[in-house]
Symmetry: C2
Subunit: 188 residues, 2 copies
DNA sequence: GTCTATAGTCCGATAGAC
DNA sequence: GTCTATCGGACTATAGAC
């Protein structure tokens, strides 16, 4: 693995663990096992390095989520799979966590991969919900776009609760409740 | 207003705006209009000051939420009022946002007001949902505890989406979807 | 391309005058 | 109780040798 990739890997880990502002170039260099000069040779600044890392993470997450949803037999199954897929409850969402950092929100290059990925999730779920409505599996008296946004928010919020309580069970509780709520959307 | 209160007020604002690690004693002193000596006279450290501020914020939020839920005519109305109450979408939840700061999670005095408040919300909502089930307003085939956790997560996640997109409309979209989901819990 | 040395700033906290 | 001066260290970034 090349130096550039080792730097990007270390950055992704540290951004997930500590966030942007609290992650120092020094810590990245230590974790990647490179000197300061190497980091600044490959990336002009901490912000540019973080932006590259977040872009990579966003692409990876969008790809794996699309794959997850594509393999379910029915739309309702796909939505439930989105809720139930195993996640690192205590680590939080590696992109969603960044929204609490003002320096991230102030920099378009840092914010856009986050916004694009969360918007992409909502699009995938809205399409599934509409399909479920079209084939009569789901009720037609709700807005697929709104419910899709709510489902994405549920996963983000589940991470918040699990971290607050420092208990993965909080995440599971949120998911269990979400499953109850989604079951209420089925036609009967 | 006394010096101590001015310091606590400035701290609460800055913690909400910037989080814990990114808020410097210097910034607090500037915002409160006091010197370093005053701050360290009233509070032994940045951590102790932040803990006092978060305890205050938690008490205030628990009190206002209990009041909000107590004034609704029926359990389902109270749950919908929780979802629909106006919130500062782009600023985020002043307690929930802290869960992304590792230094906060590592310090029990900082973490516990957050965990206690979010747990308190869940307890209030679970009691309402159970009451709704008892009086036949809500279906009895769901876990009130789980759904209560999901409702709290929805509001936390709505803040995340709104901040990611830098658009309050994202918050409204999440709430609209949540209302659809809660309507599915009613008996018919 | 990679390294070390260093600059200039800000951090959290303490000392001590008033 | 409040102030200013200051400490020791960490921060992001640059310089320049190899």
């Amino acid at each position: 693995m090349g130096t550039r990739e080792r730097i990007l890997d270390a950055t992704a880990d540290l951004l997930w663990e500590r966030g942007y502002t609290a992650t120092s170039p020094q810590a990245i260099q230590l974790a990647a096992g490179v000197g300061q000069g190497s980091m600044y040779h490959h990336f002009p600044s901490k912000a540019a390095l973080a932006a590259a890392s977040l872009r990579d993470s966003g692409e990876q997450l969008r790809r794996s989520t699309a794959e997850l949803l594509r393999t379910a037999p029915t739309p309702a199954d796909a939505v439930l799979a989105y809720l139930r897929t195993p996640r690192e409850a205590l680590r939080g969402c590696r992109l969603g966590r960044m929204t609490q950092d003002v320096d991230v929100l102030a920099d378009e290059d840092l914010r856009s991969p986050i916004a694009e990925t969360l918007t992409y999730y909502q699009g995938l779920l809205a399409a599934l919900l509409e399909e479920g409505q079209r084939v009569g599996q789901l009720r037609s008296d709700f807005s697929a776009t709104s419910v899709a946004a709510t489902l994405v928010a549920i996963i983000q919020g589940a991470h918040v609760l699990a971290r607050a309580e420092q208990a993965p069970q909080a995440f599971e509780r949120v998911v269990a409740g979400a499953v109850h709520l989604v079951e209420g959307l089925r036609t009967r």
